[in-house]
Symmetry: C2
Subunit: 232 residues, 2 copies
């Protein structure tokens, strides 16, 4: 009954404008993918970490990751694809058959905390599927054709984060259904929701942000400094 | 047929931790409320700008704002209240009877651009009500009792910003209805939506962020620097 994590690092990073895959962009001197892999590998419940990297980048990522903390849990990188589901599919295919639980994490959420990962794994083991999320700060509008369709109560509106953790069998089934139907989701839990299976929500931290723009990188640097100061 | 703007600056700013009203926190040396009032006063369509300030803070804000660019459009500050609707109500009550259009703006969105304000005013004049919003980057979950209820299509999920612009009569009617029913909204457009009136959505910019935390402040400084570099 082992637990594995896919760290999705196949994004191209155009919005960070660094001219290299997003996961290789440095945050305070350390590439995002290294931070993310080390954070995930440090979680006691996770036994195996599979980096899913851009096509053609296996060698570069393998070299970069060879020296990370927790390298004994690290599997060789796997080539991802253009769509998120392509990467998840490739990562799942690489896992041993006895993998019971799969955590899917974005390398761009490089500041995730181990305690939050443990909490979402525990919730998945109870409910079959669980994700980290934070309450939305802005009011959310559902918009169609340039008009407000609906304003859901803000208390019900949460921004999904990763990791999202699933019973491996459930995620495989959900992905196969989506593939068969040509459905592309913006997160992995959505695939499981489409099966009608329950997905638990675990409140995470705003600091587990997805680093996508130079402003995100600046905000992440402030968060890192604040953590360092608290630790000192 | 004049157009007025309420700049809501009554927030207490606990999350910025500066021990002073949020609107007085400095961004690159200039208080948020000064930046917001100057940005709004620079919009040609806006003839009158009413700062709505924390109770007991009229004198301090009046002194601070006396020297802003565009001061000829500035009305004396008005005391707001505990809830957003208290502040909007107070601001509306201060407006001249011939005010046809009202823009409501958060002082914490100090980086709003004039061109975006003009576009949302134009949309309101066509449709009766309009707001700035940006597409959500994260997947949004509707959550109830710790479970995912629904994942609306991400393309339909937008984060509301300000300014939100209304026919003055419509906003007054919407506020009166909400007050009568004890309904508290998280944004002003929601009050108008409850009347069944259409609200147009104008795509704004991610840079028009609501500055609420130290990380937001850091991100805002990066945005300001980037604007300065582009302008230079």
């Amino acid at each position: 009954m082992s637990t594995a994590a896919l760290v999705l690092a196949a994004g191209r990073g155009e919005r960070l404008g660094a001219g290299l895959p997003k996961a290789l962009v440095s945050l305070a001197g350390v590439p995002l993918v290294v931070r993310a892999v080390e954070a995930i590998a440090a979680v006691p419940e996770i036994e195996r970490v599979v980096p899913v990297v851009p096509p053609g980048e296996l060698a570069r990522f393998a070299a970069l990751l060879s020296g990370v903390a927790g390298a004994h849990k690290l599997a060789p990188p796997v080539e991802g694809g253009r769509e998120r589901q392509d990467s998840v599919r490739a990562g799942l295919a690489s896992l041993a058959d006895d993998t019971a639980w799969v955590a899917v994490h974005d390398a761009a959420r490089a500041l995730v905390r181990g305690a939050d990962v443990s909490r979402v794994i525990a919730a998945a083991r109870r409910h079959g599927a669980a994700l980290l999320a934070v309450p939305l700060r802005d009011t959310m509008k559902r918009v169609r054709d340039g008009r407000v369709l609906e304003t859901p109560p803000r208390a019900e509106c949460w921004a999904a984060q990763t990791p999202q953790v699933f019973a491996a069998r459930l995620l495989r089934e959900a992905l196969a259904k989506a593939d068969a139907e040509g459905f592309l989701a913006t997160d992995d839990a959505q695939l499981v929701e489409r099966l009608g299976a329950p997905v638990a929500v675990v409140e995470g931290e705003v600091g587990n942000l997805k680093i996508t723009t130079p402003e995100d990188l600046a905000a992440a640097e402030v968060l890192l400094r604040a953590r360092g100061e608290r630790a000192a």
